[in-house]
Point group: D2
């Protein structure tokens, strides 16, 4: 049994990791930390876990953790992870970091997040469909952002095929991506019966999308605008791509099928948030506009699973040689 | 033109008063106060009013207000109103208070709200369908709570008829009743796809329901449990009433029709939140359970209109001899 | 591996059984029937299952089914099941029926559903927390209705203890209980931002609640009013119970703990739809009203799981001697 | 008092016209037709109007209508209007048609709607901000589609200024645009917690957007993809525009301010569906992407008001020389 810990287990990301890991057949959660709730039962903060998990929050102590864990997930805020991870690595642990701290090279991070990086080690971008080999041998994996997971998976095959010049990602996300902390933007009357674009041309997740897609084709132009819709979970990504040569449906389908061959969580299937809710799947479909140079590719993921905790467990599975589906091979929850 | 002011104009109640008053044909808003936003345009906080209202927030100054107003609505928190109202009254103004401070006799208020009352004057409970005559001549009107408006209107005719022994009010409210301030209970993921009972046997609004219904029949037993549903506006009140003698549909209908004769905002009509949304109507229907002593009466109101700002304007209309429908005679907003 | 079939696999109930059974470690779905979709892949109707299940819909043929199955779930409409079940039983199969046809004695069924019963065999009411012993040896189990599951579990301990005289169940359900077929009552604009009481004093599920609670105490008076809230899944049951002697919190807690000792899916925990969403748990809490004879007990279940498919699988587990948690021991899905 | 009739008054469009017209100070509804509900009170289908309107549905009879009306709104399906309008015009009535039948030249209509046009008269496209002069003198006005109203108003100033080469309209609409008839796509479980792109490259409304924007600059390339979000009312249009020369914020703002000078319903204000809900406003904002050729313009309208009934009444006001705000000058309904 792989022994895993969660650093920062009170928020949505920690809760979602626990939801999935508490029934994972090859991993056991042995430590969950929280500075502010140390000593309290984990199910006091996550009552959905009552009966499924019998642990108390502990304070963070790398050497104590190292005695009880093989791997830790760091689910602390951006900027905090970089101060926690080195100690964990030094104590001999592998780390999957859920924040933005290990997704970008340190210099890019510093420019995008406007913050000095305290631990500028080389990073592995933990998008398993693109980087399984590097993940396999990584000590620290930077787990991707939710929007980037959706956007990159939507467009990567066409970009890699060199047929796309420009893509506008118009993304629609559930509000859970904003986290557990109440704010004006998560206030029910401000979300319900509404749809809110934000950081319209400036969202920091764009740097991850740029990094990954431009690694596949450095000439592609990327635009990204996120919106929040009245939904708790899920991201629907609408990618308006402009192609540089005519393509048929069959050609596009072949590009996707080939690119994602052997990737169990990618389904060429009409995307709806319901069909992927609670699951690690990414459903993708496309439509070519007749008489123009536009192709629209649409995908759906659960931002908390494939866009966060599920993807992290998929990375864990890969790091330890388990079938990558282990513990996360379940249906979405429609309706 | 009646000149009106709003003390505390930044919240939901102030905003809703402004939404309705800015097109009221016999009243003009001349002052809107806010300590924290003094000097800012009102439409900076209420962008829905842009183009409809050209005012700036002012600081609270009773004598200045008295020069510009005939009537003020006090839309400040419970416990704060009692410190503001005396100065306004002394300056010659009439007041409709939106808080709980003037709904109950001072001794009852003190016991329910656990707070010394600073202005223990006799109160007029501003439920126009029951107290139009007192409202007409009042200087200070205590505008009813949203749950009490729904509950009292639902049951008053049967209680007054002396046919009911006990009523369980199971109320379902939109979240806007919690106000504009974000909190854990208004966080979208905690409200959506959920329904939350709270203050299950202890909600303070029960004292208003008690006061009004027991004035009609002091033997009736009242129970009240509120719930929040995933809706922004509206209260649906389900009243489970236990009757002390058999009644037919026709008898019950007659009781309601007679009690509400000449009350334009009460409609005997299948209640849905949509049909009353944004409007001052209260829609009521009932069903007698065959073979038992239960009758179920259901009503729908918009908590922000008939349960707050609309009812206040109805009171204003009555105080100044206008037709009580003036400025609030509009359809609900389905779908 | 237990071989199971689903008769009527295109609707919500069939889909939810498939969602859970496709990853059940001791059961394998070998047959899914649909008259209208025979020959089509199951994941054409349930795209959430793509990759998880490789089956085609078949036409209904009891003898063919008997060769491939040990147990079948009949997920066909009320009134249809009674015509299908006898043939399956004669072919040697065990049956868990998801309709209302086997929940009530035939004479009660006929009176409530106003329909002649074609198969008036003795029934086993498959509420595992009350009838595990009978379920164990049953050939045909009538799987309970969703509202009754919630209502009975909420009140049974107090009723069995003889301390309750009367209960008003005010239930709030997600719309998925209305099934997959679009109608005026499931039309989004009629459900969103609304709450709708229906069959206010006449819902047929009341007969199940009566049957089970009056078997525990035949003097208790039962009232039941269902509502639909803007939620897809979940039932919150608010039980207003009137007690015949004073009770303390400790006494009530002891009554529940004793009654549900050893029942893994019952949790004494603050009920929210989110915490049980997608899971088989029933979360229960209570509050005693000071100075009156009312106690309010509240529960939350997922109507599609504990109120339908999950409970059916729990029954299956019991019938075949598996741990009753097998395949359904998973967390709810908050947020 | 202008006498107006509504042909086809049972659906959402008819209901919304009635909601607004029943309190319009210069118009009186004298006829509402419905073949299937002739003889029934209008408020039986539109219970929100109870107390506000005392009319019965009548059968359609152009000459009878002509005796009682000056103007009629035809709110019948696409393809049906063209068979009704000629008779009304011949009877001397002015007509505002709510369907697609009079928005496009007959040849374009026939190609887009794949249907022979029965009444190929020249059309006036009733977007008042662009065509007030033609509307003023029109006999038949084709009231614009909801998506086109949002899209055209969002982009027209930049297109007219010649600075835009290509625009991708990614529109998000409430479900009320699908009408009153329940269907799989309006089924609550399919809409809630979801977002659905549809007619991704083929929506027929694109022809209206093309017509109007290419009349302003025939070189602009238009793309349009609509989505349905879990909202009843409202359209948020996200326009990703590609500019052919660098622009500053001030320049863009000046372009909009000049283009919309004297247009009371256009507000340069952060768009939210709540701020325009129930109102005739169109709120617009923009953001220029640094370092690229993209500008994102976003607008919000209520699809049932500015995108339908409100715009029609605005057209009516213009046709009869009333202030265009008459009867529709009201705030949106936040929260």
């Amino acid at each position: 049994m792989l022994r895993v810990g969660i650093i920062g287990g009170t928020g949505y990301v920690g809760g979602e990791l626990l939801r999935l890991l508490c029934v994972h057949p090859k991993a056991e959660v042995t430590v969950v930390t929280s500075r502010s709730h140390a000593g309290k039962p984990v199910d006091a903060m996550h009552p959905n876990l009552k009966g499924l998990l019998d642990l108390k929050f502990e304070d963070v102590d790398p050497s104590a953790i190292a005695h009880k864990c093989d791997l830790v997930f760091t689910a602390v805020p951006h900027g905090a992870a970089m101060n926690v991870v080195p100690g964990l690595v030094d104590a001999g642990l592998k780390v999957i970091d859920m924040s933005a701290d290990y997704r970008l090279p340190a210099d890019v991070f510093e420019s995008v997040y406007n913050k000095k990086h305290a631990d500028p080690r080389p990073t592995v971008y933990g998008l398993p469909e693109l980087h399984a080999e590097e993940v396999k041998n990584a000590t620290v994996v930077g787990n991707p952002g939710c929007y980037p997971t959706g956007a990159i998976l939507t467009a990567a095959p066409l970009v890699a095929a060199g047929v796309v010049d420009r893509i506008v990602f118009d993304s629609k996300s559930g509000i859970s991506g904003s986290g557990q902390e109440p704010s004006e933007t998560t206030h029910y009357p401000n979300v319900a019966e509404n749809v809110r674009p934000y950081n319209i041309t400036t969202h920091r997740h764009k740097s991850e999308i740029d990094q990954e897609l431009r690694a596949l084709n450095n000439k592609v132009k990327i635009h990204f605008t996120p919106h929040v819709i009245p939904s708790v979970r899920g991201i629907l990504t609408t990618a308006h791509a402009f192609i540089n040569k005519p393509l048929t449906d069959d050609q596009v389908r072949a590009i996707y099928n080939e690119f994602y061959a052997g990737k169990p969580f990618i389904r060429m299937s009409k995307p709806t948030l319901a069909n992927v809710r609670g699951s690690n799947f990414c459903d993708i479909a496309f439509e070519i506009e007749k008489g123009t140079d536009r192709i629209v590719i649409v995908s759906a993921i659960d931002n908390m699973v494939k866009g966060s905790a599920g993807e992290a467990i998929q990375n864990m599975n890969i790091m330890y040689g388990f079938d990558e589906r282990t513990g996360i091979w379940m249906s979405g929850l429609p309706p």
